[in-house]
């Protein structure tokens, strides 16, 4: 009898209360669903970003007479890059000296197209200008441009000339500085940014005994490295060069890891619908197939650049 009242009120209350809870969750779910769909829609064309999509179609269509392409100045290939041009992609801020990975790639591509070094002209183009829509001051531009769908809306990309590798960095005097093997990193405490190929590289290639430390951003990870709460970080190679050269006081590159996951790709930028895209892609493909690109990578990134390849 005494419980009659409370029971009633509880049950009567349960209906509406439950309903409110459920509907609120539904709203959240619908909200997230919309968000997700937007994300999905935005990313759906990502499948198209296959290496050969750069312009193989036009490559077969257009002939590529050596030294006689429809360049800005007939007989001369104009190549753009930013100033300053950073190591190890260029050397001494002089793109025309043929030293540094991208300078070497540029001259090799030019040669394939029938333009010897004397017929190559360099122009200075700020990074963002080269990938903005509009007329271009160059025939081709190399400046560590990742091939993305957003950029493809505004410019053409050649086939990728470089697939970004993951790299271990550390600080001078750390216990992993100077290691030359992946096995030597087993006992290190390594960090990486969440949701990156770098984290994948730690878990799949190094498989350290200590769980990987995961950070929201590379800035947090860098701070942890400076503080010594981690022994080393895994970042992509361009970031590794930048961090150790410009951001960390005594940062060192330990070495590059083998390719893992879906790597970022660097492509040569050309004007949208440039008549040269197909020919440049073909030249890059040939350089990859005959092993030239691999040699250049070894020479300028692993060798002179100071990012040795870690052996198992």
């Amino acid at each position: 009898m005494a419980t009659d009242g409370p029971t009633r009120s509880t049950l009567a209350g349960a209906g509406p209360r439950l309903a409110v809870m459920v509907s609120r969750n539904t709203l959240t779910a619908l909200g997230s669903a919309t968000l997700l769909l937007t994300v999905l829609a935005g990313c759906a064309p990502a499948d198209d970003a296959t290496p050969s999509a750069g312009g193989s179609a036009s490559a077969s269509a257009a002939a590529c007479p050596p030294g006689g392409l429809a360049t800005k100045t007939t007989g001369t290939l104009t190549i753009g890059t930013d100033n300053p041009a950073y190591e190890p992609w260029f050397s001494d801020n002089k793109p025309a000296n043929g030293k540094g990975f991208e300078s070497a790639v540029a001259y090799n591509v030019a040669e394939r197209l029938g333009y010897p070094a004397t017929n190559v002209k360099w122009v200075q183009v700020p990074f963002n200008n080269a990938i903005a829509p509009g007329p271009k001051a160059f025939d081709i531009d190399l400046n560590q441009y990742s091939i993305t769908d957003e950029r493809k809306q505004a410019v053409d990309f050649s086939s990728p000339y470089y697939l970004v590798r993951q790299t271990v960095i550390s600080t001078k005097g750390s216990k992993i500085a100077g290691q030359t093997t992946i096995a030597g990193l087993k006992d290190a405490k390594l960090g990486a940014q969440v949701g990156t190929t770098s984290l994948q590289a730690i878990n799949e290639l190094i498989k350290p005994n200590n769980k990987a430390q995961v950070f929201n951003s590379n800035d947090d990870a860098k701070k942890a490295l400076q503080n010594g709460t981690v022994d080393g970080l895994v970042v992509d190679l361009p970031t590794a060069f930048y961090m150790t050269a410009a951001e960390l006081d005594n940062g060192v590159i330990v070495g590059q890891l083998p390719q893992v996951g879906v790597p970022e790709q660097f492509g040569i930028v050309l004007d949208k619908s440039s008549p040269l895209t197909g020919c440049v892609s073909k030249a890059v493909d040939q350089l990859r197939q005959d092993g030239t690109l691999a040699v250049l990578e070894k020479t300028w990134l692993a060798g002179t650049g100071g990012a040795p390849e870690l052996t198992p």
């Binding site: 349960a14 769909l37 969440v194 949701g195 769980k211 995961v214 503080n227 709460t229 981690v230």
Partner: protein, 277 residues
């Protein structure tokens, strides 16, 4: 003692009413439920949402990693909750000390509760886990301890205010009575004030503990992998949000006992307070 016919009638009437309200509640719940199911599963994007939020395959695949992360949450929760409760109680007692001599103590306790209730927890964790190791002192504890300390000082401030509310809710006549019986201030606090105060604020204390349970995961900012971080990693690997749902379900399961205890304590307190009336 026999029951009169009128009383019998009353009982039958009330029973009928009770049955009617149960049926009504069940009916309306069913209708709302069916409508919701249709609204969600009938929506044009449902298949896509189902695939990316409720994939059984990915749920099973991500469960071990998320559980592994949850184990960190549980350990952090137990340690941090106990320490924060202790810290909160100490601060509350310090803040309610009487007498001009204790002004600096009161002022510092007040400043502490003001400051750490105001600063966002994330920033406290950043300061502790990234700032303190930067000092490069000998014997700096690892990030788990530093992150835990950030949680304890932040939640200690909240809990201190809850405790203080409890202490101040004890009627002054209780204190006066205790002192006139010859109890010292310390004895009065220990045997008269605190037992009543803590009992009165048990529900909000437990409530804060439930909140802490979700916030302990923020130590993942400093590198360790908790359940949400593990889910985030699995999500990034598969481009599928199911691991988040897995983590959410696990968190709800973890919270259920605490929430049940909170509700039970609240009910019991209400019953006891109304017992005399």
């Amino acid at each position: 003692m026999t029951i009169s016919d009128i009383q019998r009638g009353r009982i039958a009437y009330r029973r009928g009413k009770a049955i009617r309200s149960v049926l009504l509640a069940a009916g309306s719940t069913a209708v709302v439920g069916v409508l919701l199911v249709f609204a969600v599963t009938g929506s044009p994007g449902w298949d896509r949402v189902k695939g990316s939020f409720f994939s059984w395959k990915i749920a099973k695949q991500s469960l071990p990693a998320v559980l592994d992360g949850l184990w960190l949450n549980i350990r952090m929760l137990v340690v941090c909750a106990l320490l924060a409760l202790a810290l909160g109680l100490v601060i509350a007692v310090l803040r309610t000390l009487r007498g001009p001599v204790f002004f600096p103590v009161r002022a510092m306790a007040t400043l502490y509760t003001y400051a750490f209730r105001g600063v966002p927890l994330i920033i406290v964790i950043y300061l502790f886990a990234f700032g303190i190791p930067g000092l490069r002192l000998q014997g700096t504890p690892n990030v788990y301890v530093l992150g835990g300390a950030a949680l304890v000082v932040t939640y200690g401030a909240y809990l201190a205010e809850v405790f203080r509310a409890g202490i101040e809710s004890v009627h002054p006549s209780q204190l006066a009575a205790a002192r006139s019986l010859g109890l010292t201030y310390r004895q009065t606090m220990r045997h008269v004030v605190l037992p009543q105060a803590v009992r009165r604020v048990a529900p909000p204390l437990l409530n804060d503990t439930v909140a802490l349970q979700k916030d302990v995961g923020l130590v993942s900012l400093a590198g360790p992998i908790d359940a949400v971080r593990a889910a985030q990693i699995a999500t990034a690997e598969n481009f599928n949000y199911t691991p988040y749902i897995v983590a959410a379900v696990l968190f709800v399961l973890l919270a259920l006992p605490l929430i049940a205890v909170t509700d039970w304590a609240t009910l019991r307190a209400a019953r006891r307070q109304n017992a005399g009336s």
